[in-house]
């Protein structure tokens, strides 16, 4: 905790107020009017809760920290404020009591945690909830909120799959629960509004550029986020019922805090470069490989299309294509301005952010985001009525060339011709060179708009009873366009603008949600009971339309679909999703140390057939804070101790809409003036919910006044009744069918989080947080696996993240060709011999963060580490000897380095034995190797401008580096995205300032 009180207070006061049920009390004869001021010793604390102990009566301190409360002379006051130690002071007949709160040395204290429908504290939570706050995010130049979680949370594994602005992230909370590859996304809730993580983008427009369709989370401005909570176990997720199986990510945006009108300004600039590249052959090495390949194949006169070696292209030119094509610098510029203020009754916050990002590719492509955020809250004078309104709007616009150049950077022959002619036009070298920049003449533009509005209305019906309704609305709109002007084609085709193509994709998604709830709280003697009952109505409709215009009178008109000679609808998707539920929670606390928490939900979803629409989910959680027991209360060593556990079920309905119906859809296929109707899918009307049973046991300990805290959790998730698109052979007419499989996946693991406050002096403080996750994933049961279409994909008892491939046994000393194990002993290597199991799931992963503050300086260093195997460069490389460049590893080949070489004899593809062996090699264990890494994820240095230096202005200057350094043995470009086709995450250097006044 730092000494920046005002900042803390502004942020947290509101959350504290909202859930504090302050109630009016009538004055009676013997009552006393007590008043005073709450301070931290220097500055007033506004928003502190002043409560009469063992009652529900309380007030909140005002902007000057002043409070007034009516109490009996014998009562005690309990004063609490987030981040500070709670004080209990007997009134003893005094009418003025000034209170000085001490900062809580650790963050564990009374920090309120958002659990979705209710809040809890770190001390008293019964479930598993991880959290990052704005503090951890504000100096990072991130576009996607998920990036902020990397390395900071146990049990949450996040990988970035592309370094292109707008590219997506993969998130796995406690492993793979579903055999369905797209069925492992968590539920995202932004300010109480469910946020669909399903892209509105079309692969028809973004393919080749983004590893996955554009991520909707990009539309949430990271600098508007106050906190992100990740709910992991049954206790925390069961209240989300059918949608909680893969965990829940709660995103809360900032809200107004201070009463004094305050302004803030944040600006940063970031420079990004590709952090890890493969070293490729130079022209000499490359041409030697080519010559050897032809010699091996017995060919002496080079074919006409072997331009690299038959003399058409220069034999000496040597270009480092990675430098040329992905070696640029990507700039991010970000500016955020905000204003907040208010009074006792009303508080507000307004902010705007503008950001631009460029790419490492040649050219000046940009991605821009403008975001506006506002939050207003109002409470009536008698505190009975409250309303909170938040509005987040973001608009993204990108204009990026339509292809990721990474593939070309690693494949172009080093002696390939120059990109440009002397006159600046693209060089096609008389038609012999497919210029990689040609695709850049086609553009991918993406405009998205996203509005999330949420209103929470609450009214105190009685002192302990509150009625609350949450109303949410989300409106997303995405427009993508991709152009293919005729100029992208090699001029030998003689293509004119009447073949130019414009592909447009437009998607909108509207959803609304209404959640009326009753909150009741009752306290008597040593008992505390909280009850919540609510219901959800949610409706979501999605519309997507992709169209293609072909044939323009000039390429200058290519952006106008109206100018196209023919327009075709390629895809039209309309869907509606309805969801309805009743949910509840009962939380019982006895003597502040025995806590039981019961949650449940009954869900109905339109995604299932009439017979399976409804299902029940629920969980029980319990905690024992044993450090509050008499015998430990006085312990100077153990300051906090809690055991907690939970058990429950959640489900998953992530299968898309209408899957249970036999339907025909309008296809994009025109024939003889008739628009075709196509069977949409194979259907099975009776599939039902996937269920996920979660167990967790955890211990949370604090030592030496909580200067050391350790929490470790053991979890086990069994996910059964797997709802999957079962892959089918083509003879069925389709790739898959949605159905339930009698298969069980077990995810089990150990999570540890350690926090230490190593030095805690006024001038110098040093804290360390570390997290480690050891996951274990297994396919426990799969009835009929042998006879199913999964027979060659999964193995019972092994993780679901395995690759079954050939077993590489070495290079034949005589023929120089890769050899593989013949499992079935039939003397042939066929697909039946793909029996070698390689496990590519993470073995363990985590992060280590150190924060050192000295006077006005603060240094934060975050390391992220993963132990895993992954696909290496062999998987994505072409046949060594063909007209594509190779990493220098390929120089280690037969016969030069004998049968212990890495690569077999070079061939141009004419040696069919070597050619098939190459394909098998790519799908053998040789293409899988260590992909572990330790990465300096983030390093930031912040200087706080001393108070009074700039008058009323306070602020800080910071320098931050992202992905600065990586230690790895990985055979490839980057161990995180493991791809030679998509741009790896960038190394970024950021400089920024924050001012408040």
């Amino acid at each position: 905790m730092t000494k920046n009180h005002t900042l803390c207070r502004r942020r947290r006061i509101y959350a504290g107020c909202l859930f504090f049920l302050s109630l009016s009390l009538t004055l009676s004869a013997q009552d006393l009017l007590v008043s005073g001021q709450v301070t931290d010793g220097q500055l007033p604390i506004s928003g502190a809760n002043v409560l009469i102990k063992n009652s529900n009566t309380g007030v909140v301190s005002d902007f000057d920290g002043r409070y007034t409360i009516t109490a009996r002379p014998t009562d005690s006051l309990q004063i609490s404020y987030l981040g500070y130690t709670t004080l209990t002071i007997p009134i003893q007949n005094r009418s003025t009591i000034n209170i000085t709160l001490q900062e809580d040395a650790t963050a564990l204290g009374e920090v309120q945690i958002n659990a979705g429908y209710y809040t809890t504290t770190d001390r008293e939570k019964t479930g598993s909830i991880a959290r990052v706050t704005a503090k951890d995010m504000e100096t990072q130049p991130i576009t996607n909120p998920l990036a902020a979680l990397q390395g900071r949370m146990a049990g949450v594994n996040i990988t970035q799959n592309s370094g292109i602005p707008g590219g997506g992230f993969n998130i796995q909370i406690r492993g793979i629960n579903s055999l369905r590859s797209n069925g492992n996304a968590p539920l995202y809730i932004v300010n109480g509004v469910p946020y669909s993580s399903q892209s509105l983008g079309s692969s028809l427009t973004s393919s080749g550029l983004l590893a996955s369709a554009t991520s909707p989370l990009n539309s949430i401005n990271p600098s508007d986020i106050e906190s992100i909570e990740v709910l992991k176990d049954a206790d925390a997720t069961a209240i989300y019922g059918s949608r909680g199986a893969n965990g829940v990510v709660l995103i809360t945006t900032k809200s107004g805090t201070s009463e004094k009108t305050a302004f803030s300004l944040q600006a940063f600039t970031s420079l990004g470069k590709v952090s890890s590249k493969m070293e490729m052959m130079d022209t000499g090495q490359y041409l030697a490989m080519r010559r050897e390949a032809y010699a091996n194949d017995g060919i002496t006169s080079y074919p006409v299309n072997a331009y690299d070696i038959n003399g058409v292209w220069s034999q000496t030119k040597n270009t480092d294509w990675a430098k040329e094509l992905i070696g640029g610098t990507a700039y991010i510029k970000n500016l955020r301005a905000g204003m907040s203020g208010g009074n006792q009754q009303t508080r507000f916050l307004l902010s705007g952010t503008y950001r631009t990002e460029s790419t490492v590719f040649p050219g000046d492509d940009t991605y821009a985001q403008a975001a506006v955020q506002s939050s207003v809250s109002h409470r009536s004078i008698n505190d009975r009525f409250k309303v909170d309104l938040t509005l987040n709007y973001a608009s993204n616009k990108s204009n990026i060339q339509a292809n990721d150049l990474t593939t070309q950077a690693y494949r172009l022959a080093p002696n390939a011709p120059a990109l440009y002619n002397e006159d600046g036009s693209l060089n096609w070298e008389n038609g012999t060179f497919e210029n990689p920049l040609a695709n850049g003449l086609g553009k991918y533009t993406n405009r998205s708009k996203n509005l999330i509005a949420n209103a929470v209305l609450s009214y105190s019906l009685a002192p302990n009873l509150e009625f609350r309704t949450s109303l949410g609305y989300n409106d997303m709109d995405l427009k993508e366009a991709r152009t293919w002007p005729s100029t992208v084609y090699n001029p030998v085709y003689g293509v004119t603008s009447s073949s130019s193509i414009l592909t447009l994709n437009g998607g909108t998604r509207n959803s609304w949600i209404v959640e009326p709830q009753l909150h009741w709280k009752h306290t008597w003697q040593d008992h505390e009971l909280e009850v919540l009952l609510g219901t959800t109505f949610q409706s979501e409709s999605t519309e997507m339309r992709t169209q293609r215009g072909t044939g323009f009178s000039s390429n200058g008109l290519i952006n106008s679909i109206g100018a196209a000679a023919t327009v075709q609808i390629l895809a039209e998707q309309l869907s509606e999703y309805r969801y309805q539920a009743v949910f509840g929670r009962v939380n019982y606390k006895f003597k502040d140390r025995y806590i039981a928490n019961l949650t449940g939900r009954r869900d109905g979803s339109s995604r299932f057939g009439p017979k399976n629409r409804f299902a029940n989910f629920g969980a029980i959680g319990a905690a024992w804070i044993f450090s509050r027991e008499k015998f430990l209360e006085k312990s100077s060593f153990l300051s906090f101790g809690k055991l907690r556990g939970s058990y429950g079920t959640t489900g998953s309905d992530q299968i898309g809409d209408y899957q249970f119906l036999d339907t025909y859809s309008v296809s994009n296929n025109l024939y003889n003036g008739v628009a075709g109707l196509q069977p949409t899918r194979l259907f099975s009307p009776n599939f039902g919910w996937e269920t996920n049973t979660k167990v967790e046991l955890a211990a949370e300990l604090g030592f030496l006044k909580d200067r050391i805290t350790l929490s470790s959790a053991w979890y086990q998730n069994r996910s059964s009744n797997q709802l999957v698109g079962i892959p089918l052979p083509a003879t069925t007419g389709f790739n898959n069918i949605q159905a339930n499989l009698d298969a069980v996946i077990l995810n089990r693991g150990l999570e540890m989080e350690l926090r230490t406050l190593n030095i805690d002096k006024k001038a110098l403080s040093w804290s360390t947080t570390a997290n480690l996750t050891i996951p274990n994933n297994r396919l426990l049961r799969f009835d009929g696996l042998e006879g199913s279409t999964y027979a060659n994909t999964y193995v019972i008892g092994e993780p679901v993240d395995i690759i079954k491939g050939y077993h590489f046994t070495g290079i034949d000393a005589d023929s120089g060709i890769y050899q593989f194990e013949d499992y079935n002993g039939d003397g042939l290597i066929t697909s039946a011999d793909r029996q070698f199991i390689s496990d590519v799931s993470p073995q363990w992963f985590g992060g280590l963060n150190n924060r050192i503050a000295y006077k006005n300086w603060e240094l934060e260093v975050l390391f992220q580490f993963v132990r895993q195997d992954g696909r290496n460069y062999i998987y994505s490389s072409n046949l060594p000897g063909t007209m594509t460049n190779m990493p220098i590893e390929v120089l280690d080949h037969w016969p030069a380095n004998g049968e212990n070489a890495e690569i077999q004899r070079y061939t141009t593809g004419l040696n069919s034995k070597a050619f098939s062996a190459y394909f098998r090699y790519r799908t053998s264990n040789a293409a899988i190797s260590d992909a572990s890494y330790i990465r300096l994820k983030s390093l930031s240095l912040t200087y706080k401008i001393p108070k009074n230096l700039l008058g009323p202005v306070s602020g800080s200057i910071y320098l931050q580096g992202q992905n600065l350094w990586t230690l790895t043995n990985y055979k490839g470009a980057d161990p995180e995205n493991q791809s030679l086709t998509f741009l790896p995450p960038l190394r970024q250097l950021t400089m920024g300032t924050i001012f408040n006044f």
Binding site: V304, S499, N792
Partner: protein, 452 residues
Amino acid sequence: MVTVILGLSLLGCTKFIEVDLPVSQLTGPAVYQDQTTATAALSDIYARLRNNGVLTGNPDGTSMVLGLYTDELAYYGTGTSPLESFFTHGLLPSNTYASSLWSNSYGQVYAANALLEGLENSPEIPKSATHQLQGEALFIRAVLHFYLVNLYGDIPFITTTDYQGNAQVQRLPASEVMAHIIGDLEAADQKLTYGYPAQNRVRANKGAVRALLARAHLYLEQWSLADMYASDIIGQTALYAVEDDLDAAFLKGSISTIWQLHPGVSGANTLQGKIFSFSSGPPAIAALTQDLVSSFGENDLRGQHWVKSVTQGVQVWYHPYKYKLTENTGVSQEYSIVLRLEEQILIRAEARANLGDSDGAKQDLNTIRNRAGLENTTATTTMQLLAAIQQERKLELFTEFGHRWFDLKRNGMAEAVLSPIKPAWEPKNLLFPLPESELLLNPNLEPQNTGY
């Protein structure tokens, strides 16, 4: 209050979560209650035949891949395209084009079966219309299996939409598959007439069915049946005649066309026109082989009208020029012709030669030769005549959905013709490998074709 909330939710429950179908979808049974929507379902299959699978004009269709696989086309592409393996005969079970030919075709077979099953319970559609639709669906199912069996050898013959059965289906011997194909065609023959259900011959009629019957019997060396069906079509002189103008033979209104595929969007022309043409050298994908180009005699008009040369410096390349349009035009002018009368005439010539009717055979052969500006054939013996017919097929039908490959195969000529020009030639190459992914998903399809 609690009761109000609970009551509200329980009441709302089932009603609230019922959603209507989106406007772009119909339920399966509804499609077959109406002739228009049933026809739209059929149109979709034709469109898919045009867009992908064996009959597409795209690079993964048989015109391109089998052209490269034989002596028709030379490959000029760079980088590693799945096409290169066809040209070099380095085909692997993982080749994406070999597997897309397979999977797209079975996807189309499914749609044909769905149509046949849907029509069984559709009293709302008039009988005559039902027959027409059924006949076309049977024809499409037969066409697809016909190409598949000739490419892959033993294959499953799929007649239902039951995915559980189809997921574990086994391969049938090629001869049985051929028998099923003929069965389907004979059933279609019963249901269809010579009247075309749509203009421009873009949907199948009795002529299309019989044209394929003639070809199937030819491949089975059932000469008299081949002769009978071909003669029947040739006899429909009001409908079909040889198109004398070689430049008009591949226009959409050509009188010799029996069945062609509509290009879809109005103004579009054929995909073949796009992929085969180039305007300057070297070619981006493929060009006609020197061997094929020089096979056209100096006087062969086809060598002048159906082949185009592109010169750059001292180098000359040739591309197929049957379809002349590479880009869209105001109104579509060229459709993709799958079946045409000239093939039937050559089928009958071959059948007649084998049946001992040399004069009849010569007469048919000369019809084709004369149109190409050539003298009558000089062949005299049956052997010479048969060789002349094969040569004529090579010149007449080049780059049209793999005629050359199938002819080399059925005449046992593949090894003799291809092994000198394809260094990687092996006898196993007579059949394509089954896609590896299919064998992994359905082990009942094992074993893989020998040698792969």
